[in-house]
C-alpha cells in the first residue's frame, strides 16, 4: 500500500489503488464528488453539525424571549436578520414564529434525518453486511448534494421579502397556502421547494439502502444474522419510501396554491384546509418512527456490546420494529383530534396509537433484559444508550395518555406536547445519536476521543436536558400555550413564569454542553490516540477491518458463520466471537 496516503481529516484512504475514475480524486474534488460511502457519511456529518449549531441557537433565542420577553438577546440578537429581531436585538413576535418554524424544520430535516440515516446508514450498512460499497454509489453522492442544496434553499427563506415562513414546521393550511395570511408567499414557497428537494435526497438514499441490504450481503449473512442497526435502517428506508412522497405531493400542492392560484386548500374554490393536515401527518407520524427506529437500532447494539451479552430477544426486536413501522402509518389522526374529527374516528385512532405501546414495551423490556446481569462497562456511549432508554420511556409514556382523546383535547395546544415531543426527539433520539457517534468514532476517524470531555458532555447534556424539558410538562398542565412569544401578557401564566426562566437556564446549559462535545470531536481528529481496530471488543464486521478502511472496504469478502451478538459464550476464553470467525468445534451456539 505504498501509493496510499491517509487523509487525516476524515481518516480514510484517498486512493483506491485502481486508477483515477471517480473515487481516487485528489484535493477538492475528493470532497465534492466522491462515491465512497464512508466519505459521503462524513459529508453528511459535517454538514448536519453546522445545521445543529444553527437550529440549536434558534432554540436558545426562543427560550431567551420566553424567559425575559422583549429583552435584547446577547450575541445572537445581533446575528439575526431584521425580519426576526428589532433594532436593539430583541425578538419580535413575527420573528419568534419564524424561529419556531425554522428550528423545527432544520432540526428534523437537516440534523436528525441526515445524522441518523445519512451518516450512520451510509457508514454502517456496507461495513456491517460485508459489502464493498452501496449498490448505487453515484446515486448516493447525488443524495448528499440534493440534501446540501435543499439546506441552502431553506436558509434562503430568511432573505425572502417578508422573511422566513412563520407557520411552524407543520405549516398548517390555510395559513401556509394563502399568501396574504402568512405574509411571505416566496418564503413559504421556498420552504416547500426545499422539503421537496430534501425528500428526493431521502428517497435516493432509501432506494440505495433497501437495494444494498437485500442484494449485497456477504455470503452467510442471512437477514436474521444482520446487526440490529442495519435492520433498523432497512425498515426506516421502507418507511421513507412510503411516507416522503406524500409530503412531497402535499408541499407541491401548497406551491401551486401560493403561486398558480389553485384551490386545493382554499374553501372558496371548493378546497379543503384539513386536507393538508391529513397529508402532512400521513407523512409526519411515520417520520417520528423514521427518526426513532435507527436510534433504537444503535442503542440495542451498544447496550449488548457494553453489557457483554447477546441482545435479549433479537428476533423479537426485529418484529417489534416492523410492527412499529407498520402501525406508524395508521395513527396519523391522533395529531388531529382538535381539528374536528368524528368521535368514533378519533377513538379508532386512539386505539391504534395505544397499540404501538406494545411493540415499544417489548423493545424496552428487551433492552433491560440485555443489560440484566451483564458485565456492564461504564463508558460514555453506554451512558448515552442507557439515557436513551430512560428518556424514551418518559417520552413514550406521556405519548400514551395523549393518545386518549379527552386528555389530548386538554393538553394539545400546550407545552405538555412540547415536553413530550422533545423527550422523544432530544432525550431519546439525540442521546442515541451521541451514543452512536462516540461508539463508532474510532472506526470513522481512526482516533479515540477524550474520555473526560466525553463524561463532561454526558452529564451536562443529561442534567440540562431534563432541566429544560421536564418543567415544560408542568407549564403545559398549567395551561401555557405553544407558539406564543410572550407568556407574561397572560394573567393566568404569570405565576408560572419562574418555570419558564428555569427552562431557559436549562436550554442555555444544554447549548453549552455541546461545546465539550465539539471540542472533543475536532481535537481528537488530530491529536487523539490512534484507535485500535476493535477498541470495544465488538463482534460485527466493521471492527474486523484495520483503520483506516480502504476504498472497497473488505480486501477479501468475509464469510459469516453466526448471528451478530455472540458475547460471553460459555466455554470460550475470549468473551466475544466476531461474525466472520467460526465457533470452535466444542462450542454450541444458540439459534441463527
Amino acid at each position: 500500500m505504498s501509493a496510499t496516503t491517509v487523509d487525516a481529516s476524515i481518516g480514510m484512504d484517498v486512493h483506491d489503488g485502481h486508477g483515477s475514475h471517480g473515487h481516487g480524486k485528489k484535493g477538492l474534488m475528493h470532497y465534492i464528488w466522491n462515491t465512497d460511502h464512508k466519505v459521503i457519511a462524513m459529508q453528511f456529518l459535517w454538514t448536519s453539525i453546522i445545521y445543529l449549531v444553527l437550529g440549536g441557537s434558534m432554540a436558545i433565542a426562543m427560550r431567551w424571549q420566553l424567559a425575559w420577553p422583549g429583552h435584547p438577546i446577547p450575541i445572537l440578537g445581533h446575528l439575526l436578520p431584521s425580519t426576526v429581531v428589532s433594532e436593539d436585538g430583541a425578538l419580535i413576535p413575527g420573528g419568534y414564529n419564524m424561529l419556531v418554524t425554522m428550528h423545527g424544520t432544520i432540526l428534523v430535516f437537516f440534523v436528525a434525518m441526515p445524522v441518523l440515516i445519512g451518516v450512520f446508514g451510509n457508514f454502517l450498512i456496507p461495513l456491517k453486511i460485508g459489502a464493498g460499497d452501496m449498490a448505487f454509489p453515484a446515486l448516493n453522492e447525488l443524495s448528499y448534494w440534493l440534501f446540501s442544496i435543499s439546506g441552502l434553499i431553506m436558509i434562503a427563506t430568511f432573505f425572502a421579502p417578508g422573511g422566513a415562513p412563520g407557520t411552524g414546521w407543520t405549516a398548517y393550511a390555510p395559513l401556509s397556502s394563502h399568501g396574504p395570511y402568512n405574509g411571505t408567499s416566496l418564503g413559504q414557497t421556498l420552504w416547500c421547494v426545499s422539503l421537496f428537494v430534501n425528500g428526493l435526497s431521502s428517497l435516493t438514499g432509501a432506494v440505495n439502502y433497501i437495494t444494498t441490504v437485500i442484494t449485497m450481503r456477504a455470503p452467510g449473512m442471512t437477514m436474521f444474522r444482520m446487526p440490529l442497526p442495519v435492520w433498523a435502517i432497512f425498515i426506516t428506508a421502507i418507511l421513507l419510501i412510503f411516507a416522503i412522497p406524500v409530503l412531497s405531493a402535499a408541499a407541491a400542492l401548497i406551491i401551486f396554491d401560493l403561486n398558480f392560484g389553485t384551490s386545493f386548500y382554499r374553501p372558496a374554490g371548493g378546497g379543503q384546509p384539513l386536507l393538508w393536515q391529513h397529508l402532512f401527518w400521513f407523512f409526519g407520524h411515520p417520520e417520528v418512527y423514521i427518526l426513532v427506529l435507527p436510534a433504537m437500532g444503535f442503542t440495542s447494539e451498544i447496550l449488548a456490546v457494553f453489557s457483554r451479552k447477546p441482545v435479549f430477544g433479537y428476533k423479537a426486536m426485529v418484529y417489534a420494529m416492523s410492527v412499529i413501522g407498520f402501525l406508524g402509518f395508521i395513527v396519523w389522526g391522533h395529531h388531529m383530534y382538535v381539528s374536528g374529527m368524528q368521535l368514533w374516528l378519533s377513538a379508532a385512532f386512539g386505539v391504534s396509537t395505544m397499540v404501538i405501546a406494545v411493540p415499544s414495551a417489548i423493545k424496552t423490556f428487551n433492552w433491560m433484559g440485555t443489560i440484566w446481569r451483564g458485565s456492564i462497562h461504564y463508558t460514555v456511549p453506554m451512558a448515552f444508550a442507557v439515557a436513551f432508554v430512560s428518556m424514551f420511556v418518559i417520552g413514550g409514556l406521556s405519548g400514551i395518555f395523549m393518545a386518549s382523546t379527552p386528555v389530548d383535547l386538554f393538553v394539545h395546544h400546550t407545552y405538555f406536547i412540547v415536553a413530550h415531543f422533545h423527550y422523544v426527539i432530544f432525550g431519546a433520539i439525540v442521546f442515541s445519536v451521541f451514543a452512536a457517534i462516540y461508539f463508532w468514532y474510532p472506526k470513522m476517524s481512526g482516533r479515540m476521543w477524550n474520555e473526560t470531555l466525553g463524561w463532561i458532555h454526558f452529564w451536562m447534556s443529561f442534567v440540562f436536558f431534563n432541566l429544560t424539558f421536564f418543567p415544560m410538562h408542568n407549564l403545559g398542565l398549567a395551561g401555557m400555550m405553544r407558539r406564543i412569544s410572550d407568556p407574561t401578557v397572560y394573567d393566568c401564566l404569570k405565576q408560572v413564569q419562574p418555570l419558564n426562566v428555569i427552562c431557559t437556564i436549562g436550554a442555555i446549559g444544554l447549548g453549552l454542553s455541546t461545546i465539550p462535545f465539539l471540542i472533543n470531536m475536532f481535537w481528537s481528529l488530530k491529536y487523539g490516540p490512534k484507535a485500535p481496530a476493535n477498541p470495544w471488543n465488538s463482534t460485527t464486521l466493521e471492527w474486523t477491518l484495520e483503520n483506516p478502511i480502504q476504498h472497497g472496504n473488505f480486501p477479501v469478502t468475509p464469510t459469516i458463520y453466526h448471528g451478530p451478538y455472540e458475547y460471553s459464550i460459555p466455554g470460550m476464553e475470549k468473551d466475544f466471537l466476531p461474525q466472520n470467525e467460526k465457533a470452535p468445534d466444542h462450542i454450541k451456539l444458540e439459534a441463527h
Binding site: 437495494t211 437485500i214 452467510g220 449473512m221 386545493f264 469478502t557
Partner: protein
C-alpha cells in the same frame, strides 16, 4: 467461495459474478438495478397515491356525487372529454405492449430499434392529444386557477402524470439512440432498456387509474 454457505444465505441474493465497464470497474448486477428501480417506483406510486387521495378528500368534502360542480365564479364548467381521452388511453397502453415487444426482440438477439421508436412515438402522440385537450378545456374556462378545485385537481394531476410521460418518452428515445448508434442492448445485457420499461409500464398503469378516477368517477 463456500458455495453451500452462499446458497444458504441467498434468500434474495444476487449472483456476484460481475462484468466490467470500459473503465475496468465492475458493472452493477442487472438484478440489483431492477430492484433499485422497483423500490423507486414504489415511492412514485405513493406520490400519485398522495395526489389521488387529495383529490378524493376534496371530492368527498363537497358531496361525492355533486361533481363536476356546474358553475363556479359564474362560469359554466365543462364536462370531461371521455371519448377522446379514452382513445388516448388505448394509445398509451398499446405503447406499453409495443415496448414489451421491443424488449422481447432484443432478448432474441434482434435490434428491436424500430419497435422502441414506435413506443416513443405512441407516447409522444399521447402527450400531443393531451395538449389539445388541455387547450380545449382552457378555452372553455377551466385552468389551474379557474373552475375552483375542479380545474385545479384536473390540471395538477394530469400535469404531474404528463411530466412523467414526457420524461418516459425522452428515456425511450435515449434507448433508441443507444441501440441504433451503438447496439448497446444484447440478449445478455440490456439493463437500461429493462428499467426504462419498468418505468414506462408504471406510468401507463397510473394513467389507467387517473383516467377512471378523473373522467368517470
Amino acid at each position: 467461495m463456500n458455495n453451500a454457505a452462499f446458497n444458504n444465505a441467498s434468500l434474495f441474493h444476487a449472483p456476484t459474478v460481475q462484468e466490467a465497464d470500459h473503465h475496468g470497474h465492475p458493472k452493477t448486477d442487472p438484478k440489483i438495478c431492477r430492484l433499485g428501480t422497483i423500490v423507486f417506483l414504489c415511492s412514485e406510486a405513493l406520490l400519485f397515491s398522495g395526489l389521488i387521495s387529495a383529490y378524493l378528500v376534496v371530492r368527498a368534502a363537497g358531496g361525492f356525487s355533486n361533481w363536476p360542480p356546474n358553475f363556479h365564479d359564474g362560469i359554466e364548467l365543462p364536462a370531461m372529454p371521455r371519448l377522446l381521452t379514452g382513445i388516448n388511453t388505448v394509445i398509451l397502453v398499446s405503447s406499453s405492449f409495443v415496448y414489451h415487444a421491443a424488449e422481447s426482440a432484443v432478448k432474441k438477439g434482434k435490434s428491436g430499434s424500430s419497435l422502441i421508436l414506435l413506443a416513443a412515438m405512441l407516447g409522444a402522440t399521447f402527450v400531443g392529444i393531451q395538449c389539445v385537450e388541455w387547450t380545449n378545456l382552457y378555452r372553455e374556462g377551466l385552468w389551474f386557477n379557474k373552475g375552483g378545485v375542479y380545474g385545479s385537481s384536473f390540471f395538477t394531476l394530469t400535469g404531474f402524470h404528463g411530466a412523467h410521460v414526457c420524461i418516459g418518452v425522452l428515456l425511450i428515445l435515449w434507448c433508441f439512440y443507444l441501440q441504433v448508434t451503438r447496439r448497446t442492448f444484447t440478449p445478455q445485457r440490456h439493463v437500461a432498456l429493462e428499467n426504462v420499461g419498468l418505468y414506462w409500464h408504471f406510468v401507463d398503469v397510473v394513467w389507467v387509474f387517473l383516467y377512471v378516477i378523473l373522467y368517470w368517477l
